[in-house]
């Protein structure tokens, strides 16, 4: 129990208002998956509880044969500054994605498979959406071995029912 009087020399620690973050990723693009992983892992690095919930195309980051070969969209992605007609040429998306992964490697950003391992070792949790798995005819054995659980949306909200929890949709 806390005493009413604060100690004379206050410790550097203060009560955290942000205790847990829950990140939802519904997309398979490099930018979306890495945003989810960096936010989630970064939370663990700050001592914040962290969970990732993958749904829809976000399940690709949990499929062993796909996770390290994700793409960036070259069509409909104004941030890439490639004209739409050129972005749609065969091989463009693969080329742009390979280049992007190379740039990330230079910055010591790990491939998705290794990033998931780092995140898991940090105590982070990873969940998959039950309905999306049914939609894509995926079973738990098709997904990453260290997946924590398959959840319904209700399960997900129940996990969020704690003080200091934030949900982020990337």
């Amino acid at each position: 129990m806390e005493t009413v009087e604060a100690p004379a020399k206050a410790p550097t620690k203060k009560e955290k208002k942000l205790r847990k973050i829950m990140i939802i990723n519904s997309k398979a693009t490099i930018d979306s998956v890495y945003a989810a992983l960096i936010l989630a892992n970064g939370a663990r690095m700050e001592g914040i509880e962290s969970e990732i919930f993958c749904t829809f195309f976000g399940l690709e980051m949990l499929q062993k044969d796909k996770m390290d070969h994700l793409h960036v969209a070259t069509v409909g992605n104004p941030g890439l500054h490639i004209p739409t007609m050129i972005g749609g040429l065969p091989g463009m998306e693969t080329l742009a994605s390979t280049m992007m992964r190379k740039e990330m490697d230079k910055l010591d950003i790990p491939p998705v498979s290794e990033f998931l391992e780092i995140y898991k070792a940090s105590g982070g949790k990873v969940f998959a959406c039950k309905l999306a798995m049914e939609m894509f005819h995926l079973e738990k054995k098709d997904l990453w071995d260290d997946l924590d659980e398959v959840l319904t949306v209700g399960d997900f909200y129940n996990r969020a029912d704690e003080e200091g929890t934030q949900i982020i949709f990337v």
Binding site: T12, K13, N41, G42, I109, S122
Partner: protein, 102 residues
């Protein structure tokens, strides 16, 4: 600014990181660790010495790099320095706070 750690005056920044890593010794480390709620063991010091060596050689530290060091794996790193291992361990090791996102 000046702070007194282990009964010795040392220069620290606003977040409590030593400004000069040469002012560091085991007693200072124990003093800072106590503020972080950690009691240091020999195992902690193995990690701290590794971090200091990396800092001296000018390496940018990240959790990934520490995990690949062969000194400590990521799981143990989190267990030794709970709730933010990289920043806590760096502070206890008397080196600057790493500006790493990974």
């Amino acid at each position: 600014m000046e702070a007194v750690i282990a009964n010795r005056p040392v220069e620290v920044n606003e977040q409590g990181y030593l400004l000069d890593m040469n002012q560091w010794d085991k007693e200072i480390a124990r003093g800072i660790a106590l503020e972080e709620g950690i009691e240091l063991t020999d195992r902690h010091f193995e990690v701290l010495n590794y971090l200091r060596k990396e800092q001296e050689s000018g390496t940018a530290l990240s959790i990934r790099r520490v995990g690949k060091s062969g000194v400590v794996d990521i799981k143990e790193f989190y267990a030794l320095f709970p709730e933010g291992p990289l920043k806590k361990a760096s502070r206890i090791a008397g080196i600057p706070k790493p500006a790493s996102c990974i």
